[in-house]
């Protein structure tokens, strides 16, 4: 799989952003996954989770939060 998966986790309560990230990363296996979140807390949680599963991550601020992109 090398498709670019995008997950919209904006506005979801803990721990749903991380659960959505987990599902997407497991589905992708490798390639690129982008997760959109709206709070710093969700950004940190999602980022920490992805890194713990061996993905590289980069983050950019958007107009209403952050977009975290994982690659492997």
């Amino acid at each position: 799989m090398s498709d670019h998966i995008t997950v919209d986790a904006r506005g979801l309560s803990c721990p749903q952003p991380v659960m959505e990230t987990k599902k997407a990363l497991e589905k992708a296996v490798s390639g690129k996954v982008t997760v959109m979140v709206d709070t710093e807390t969700a950004r940190n949680n999602v980022d920490r989770f992805g890194k713990s599963k061996g993905w590289n991550s980069s983050c950019e601020a958007t107009s209403d939060g952050y977009s975290v992109t994982f690659s492997k």
């Binding site: 919209d8 904006r10 506005g11 979801l12 309560s13 803990c14 721990p15 749903q16 991380v18 659960m19 987990k22 709206d38 709070t39 710093e40 807390t41 940190n44 949680n45 920490r48 989770f49 713990s52 209403d64």
Partner: protein, 363 residues
């Protein structure tokens, strides 16, 4: 300041926040707060409900400045670090009732998760049953989360909409200091206990300062006593759980140092020995907290960050405290009341129904 903030945001953050709670809470007991109740979000919101006359249990009425401090500390921290983000709209009314039943469950046990851990660290072994109940409640919540449970998305709000809880906190502090007496028959509208746990308090300025420090540290580190257990079980992530271990160890050491560690089941302060209901009360509270996304401490911190849904949960807890005492559902050191099991059954039915039926639409 930048260096300290980086540490609070790191893996050490929850540990530092846990140590702060573990040291400061027993210190507040030493300075006058009730036994093993240096900080208890549920008990203190209940005292606030009583002080406002929402219930008339005369022994538990006080405008606890710790709560206002936590909200204001989290608010100032969120402003300084650019995390103030007004938002709401994730099933607010459901959250209100989750807060209400969480409070009823917590008052059957007599404490929130923070106090549960502080009771353990003070040698109150009844809390073992409460904490076991909390873990089971969180476990049921995790089951629903895996099934796709969700209260839906919150949406960004107007800048001013996140100011309600910080402003309410300032108002309550004003009422605490002025202690107005213009109610009917010369008493109230603010009631302060003259005997019982509500009359036991550290100097308000110290309580407020401790609240602010904890609010700031917990806002930065995302300290959460429910999220910690949830993440450990669900995601095998001990990031937040380390904070709980740190809280327990620090509180145990501080209690020993201050001569507050008194092991046993009988005669513990503001506690009863009904193991089954200590357990069941916290099953309901733990489930409600998990469905709402965090422990009551975390909810007041998020309400300070501008999260309107967390604010509604907190207001639900305050109303729940009024109901718990007016309907005679809250336990006392003598044990649970005759009506508590019925309220518990209703509350569990509600929480389970929310867990079963509120599921995320895939979009």
């Amino acid at each position: 300041m930048k260096g300290l903030d980086r540490i609070l945001l790191s893996r050490m953050g929850p540990i530092i926040a846990g140590i702060a709670v573990g040291i400061l809470a027993p210190l507040l007991v030493h300075l006058g707060n009730p036994g093993n109740m240096g900080i208890c979000v549920a008990c203190f919101e209940r005292d606030i409900a009583g002080a406002l006359g929402f219930h008339r249990a005369a022994v538990v009425q006080y405008l606890r400045p710790e709560i206002m401090g936590i909200v204001l500390g989290a608010f100032i921290s969120a402003i300084i670090f650019g995390e103030y983000r007004p938002r709401s709209g994730s099933s607010p009314v459901v959250r209100f009732f989750l807060g209400m039943f969480a409070m009823i469950g917590a008052l059957i046990f007599l404490g929130c998760p923070w106090r549960g851990y502080l009771r353990l660290a003070g040698g109150d072994w009844n809390a073992l049953y409460g904490m076991a109940g909390l873990f089971v409640g969180i476990g049921i919540g995790i089951f629903f989360l895996w099934r796709g449970f969700s209260l839906g998305r919150a949406h960004a709000g107007e800048k001013g909409s996140g100011l309600m809880m910080p402003l309410l906190s300032l108002l309550l502090l004003g009422l605490l200091i002025m202690a107005p007496r213009f109610g009917a028959e010369g008493s109230g509208p603010i009631f302060f206990s003259e005997t019982g746990p509500g009359s036991m308090k550290a100097p308000w300025i110290i309580s407020l300062a401790v609240g602010c420090i904890i609010g700031w540290m917990a806002q930065r580190s995302r300290f959460c006593t429910v999220g910690s257990v949830r993440d450990l079980f669900m995601l095998k992530d001990a990031h937040l759980f380390n904070g709980i271990v740190a809280l327990l160890v620090a509180a145990l050491a501080t209690n020993f140092a201050l001569g507050l560690f008194k092991p046993g089941f009988v005669g513990q302060p503001v506690a009863h020995t009904d193991s089954l209901w200590n357990f069941l009360g916290m099953v309901m509270a733990g489930l409600a907290f998990t469905l709402a996304g965090g422990c009551p401490g975390r909810q007041i911190i998020m309400s300070g960050e501008g999260d309107g849904d967390a604010a509604i949960f907190v207001l639900g807890m305050i109303v729940g405290a009024g109901i718990a005492h007016n309907f005679n559902l809250a336990s006392s050191p003598k044990g649970i009341t005759a009506f508590a099991p019925t309220a518990w059954a209703l509350g569990m039915a509600f929480c389970l129904a929310v867990g079963f039926f509120m599921r995320r639409r895939m979009d």
